[in-house]
């Protein structure tokens, strides 16, 4: 079982690159430990900015740095980053078009027992609604590393969300197919297409295996690029299946399910089922306990497919 959380993969890539790229700057809001960025701060103190517990400041300062040629990565818990500094993300990053990467750590319900203040089940909806803001939810540590490398290649704003806990590997050191802004096809199927992002990709992947054993042919897209959504990928894969099922660690509105439904509804109409967290304060517990409770696990996904087919 992998013990390296995605946030740690981010730190590794940034440290590798910062050694030769002095324009890479990491900013934290008293969050360097939570973000696994302490090694970066210790190794590259000249490329690290601490702003204290001030998320609005975090994002605006990052925008100012970017405007002067820096490549800032602003890391803070996704719950605060996506709502407390929402306007800074909108105006200073997206509207002013600055090269800022907003890194939402401990995303979704990672802080399961800390209550709704610490959950970020609305970040996809919020960030996606901003023109010129991209939204990424990588699934495992290998894909996270590829994504960070890709983000270092362009000069546009982006928001990415990673969870707090280590997730099981889907890809590997040798085999991580990755094309920027294209979903990764993890399985092809004719009965159902499952589209998942972030931490939901692994249970969806396992569900595909369970269904296969029962003779149900399920396709799976790892839609780490929630915005810009890989529409062609959805249309192509959905066209082969009888129905589509989306799975996400997010509120039921405005997230992956809403976006995939829009595409399928207009381009290749068929039934779309959205599996998500409820439109209510989420029950307390570890991520695993919470996911199990809402059926956001392999068994729950497989069962929903069986029921809907």
């Amino acid at each position: 079982m992998n013990k390296i959380p995605n946030r740690q993969a981010i730190c590794q890539v940034l440290m590798e690159r910062a050694a030769t790229d002095k324009d890479i700057v990491v900013l934290c809001s008293d969050s360097r430990g939570s973000a696994s960025l302490t090694p970066f701060a210790n190794t590259f103190p000249e490329q690290f900015v601490e702003v204290g517990i001030a998320e609005q400041n975090l994002v605006s300062i990052a925008a100012g740095l970017a405007k002067c040629g820096k490549k800032p990565f602003a890391a803070s818990p996704a719950c605060f980053l996506s709502t407390r500094s929402y306007e800074q993300a909108k105006v200073d990053c997206a509207y002013s078009n600055t090269n800022v990467t907003l890194v939402g750590i401990s995303g979704g319900i990672s802080y399961g027992s800390l209550g709704m203040s610490h959950h970020s089940a609305q970040d996809i909806a919020a960030m996606s609604a901003i023109p010129n803001m991209r939204v990424y939810l990588p699934s495992d540590r290998f894909q996270t590393a590829k994504l960070i490398e890709a983000l270092l290649e362009d000069e546009k704003p982006a928001y990415l969300r990673v969870g707090r806990n280590a997730v099981e590997d889907i890809y590997s050191e040798e085999n991580t197919p990755f094309v920027m802004d294209k979903a990764t096809v993890l399985a092809e199927g004719t009965d159902v297409l499952i589209v998942a992002c972030g931490e939901m990709v692994k249970p969806a992947y396992d569900a595909v295996g369970l269904l296969k054993d029962e003779g149900i042919s399920a396709g799976l897209l790892d839609m780490y690029c929630v915005k810009p959504l890989d529409k062609e990928g959805v249309i192509q894969a959905a066209g082969k299946a009888k129905m589509v099922l989306t799975v996400e660690e997010h509120a039921p509105f405005g997230g992956l399910g809403s976006m995939v439904s829009q595409v399928v509804g207009s381009e290749c109409p068929r039934k779309v089922i959205n599996m998500a967290l409820p439109d209510a304060p989420v029950i307390s517990g570890t991520s695993r306990e919470v996911f199990d409770y809402y059926g956001l696990n392999a068994a729950g996904i497989a069962e929903r497919v069986r029921k809907e087919l």
């Binding site: 609005q56 400041n57 605006s60 100012g64 740095l65 405007k67 002067c68 002013s96």
Partner: protein, 277 residues
């Protein structure tokens, strides 16, 4: 005529352009435009090394118009600097499909950052100043805020960080005209004492008559030489400065003058200009 006096004359000329712009565009934050004009003229025509000729130079000074609603004054100054034609901005301001919208946007040359929502400029400038320090560049960073804007908490987050990082390459200006849309700033939300507030955040504080370009220039020169702290210039200004029709009247925060009012304002501006000659 000495240089400062020339700038004062220019400031009145540009105020007239603002009035034309607002009348043609049928809208605008005229009161703040008039109070901030001398600050912008001092910065753009005396202090900062910013112009169309060096807009891509990494060593240019950086400016963010945090009180973005005073965009008409900003446009007039940028047009006079040669970033875009004055006639074009006057005729197109606020019109359908125009790039000259009611708040600064960086699709236009000369504008670094989009603003409009208050309390963003100072924290953005903290990032710009930090970048300058990291790169060992000697450009300076300037922002102008309104006094009503100081109620935004994000201003003080930025102030805190600038003090903490001792950003002596950063100079903030407060256009202290003491009026905002609902009335007097001290009635809406107290901001006195400005000097004590900024000092307590680790800033060097200079208070001047913000409609006196000579005093402003002197303050900016002191700021340039001050090491170890960012400087804030509390520019005590008159809202609507330039004509008794508008001066110190909150109702002129956002207002289009009538034909009669416009004629009187233009006459007053011309008289004050001529008095300098």
């Amino acid at each position: 005529m000495d240089e400062i006096r020339e700038l004062k004359v220019l400031s009145y000329e540009l105020r007239k352009k603002v009035v034309e712009m607002i009348v043609a565009g049928k809208g605008g934050h005229i009161g703040g435009d008039m109070s901030v004009m001398d600050i912008l003229v001092a910065l753009y025509f005396k202090e900062m090394n910013i112009g169309p000729e060096n807009q891509d130079d990494g060593n240019r000074d950086r400016f963010v118009m945090s009180k973005g609603h005073s965009v008409e004054a900003y446009y007039a100054v940028l047009a006079r600097k040669g970033f875009f034609p004055m006639d074009e901005v006057i005729s197109q301001f606020s019109k359908f499909g125009t790039p000259y919208i009611g708040h600064p946007n960086n699709k236009l040359p000369g504008i670094e950052m989009n603003s409009g929502s208050l309390g963003h400029g100072l924290p953005v400038c903290v990032g710009m100043a930090l970048a300058g320090k990291m790169d060992g560049k000697d450009y300076r960073v300037y922002t102008v805020m309104g006094d009503g804007e100081l109620a935004e908490g994000s201003v003080w987050e930025g102030a805190m960080a600038a003090g903490h990082y001792k950003l002596d390459n950063l100079c903030a200006v407060v256009d202290r005209n003491r009026l905002q849309i609902s009335g007097g700033t001290e009635e809406v939300m107290s901001h006195d004492s400005q000097e004590e507030r900024w000092y307590s955040f680790g800033w060097n504080v200079i208070s001047v008559d913000g409609n006196d370009i000579g005093q402003l220039v002197h303050a900016f020169e002191i700021a340039k030489g001050y090491k170890g702290k960012p400087t804030v210039v509390i520019a005590n200004t008159v809202k609507g400065c330039g004509s008794a029709v508008m001066e110190n009247k909150a109702s002129w925060h956002h207002k289009v003058p009538t034909q009669e009012e416009m004629e009187q304002i233009m006459k007053d501006l011309e008289e004050r200009k001529v008095a300098l000659l």
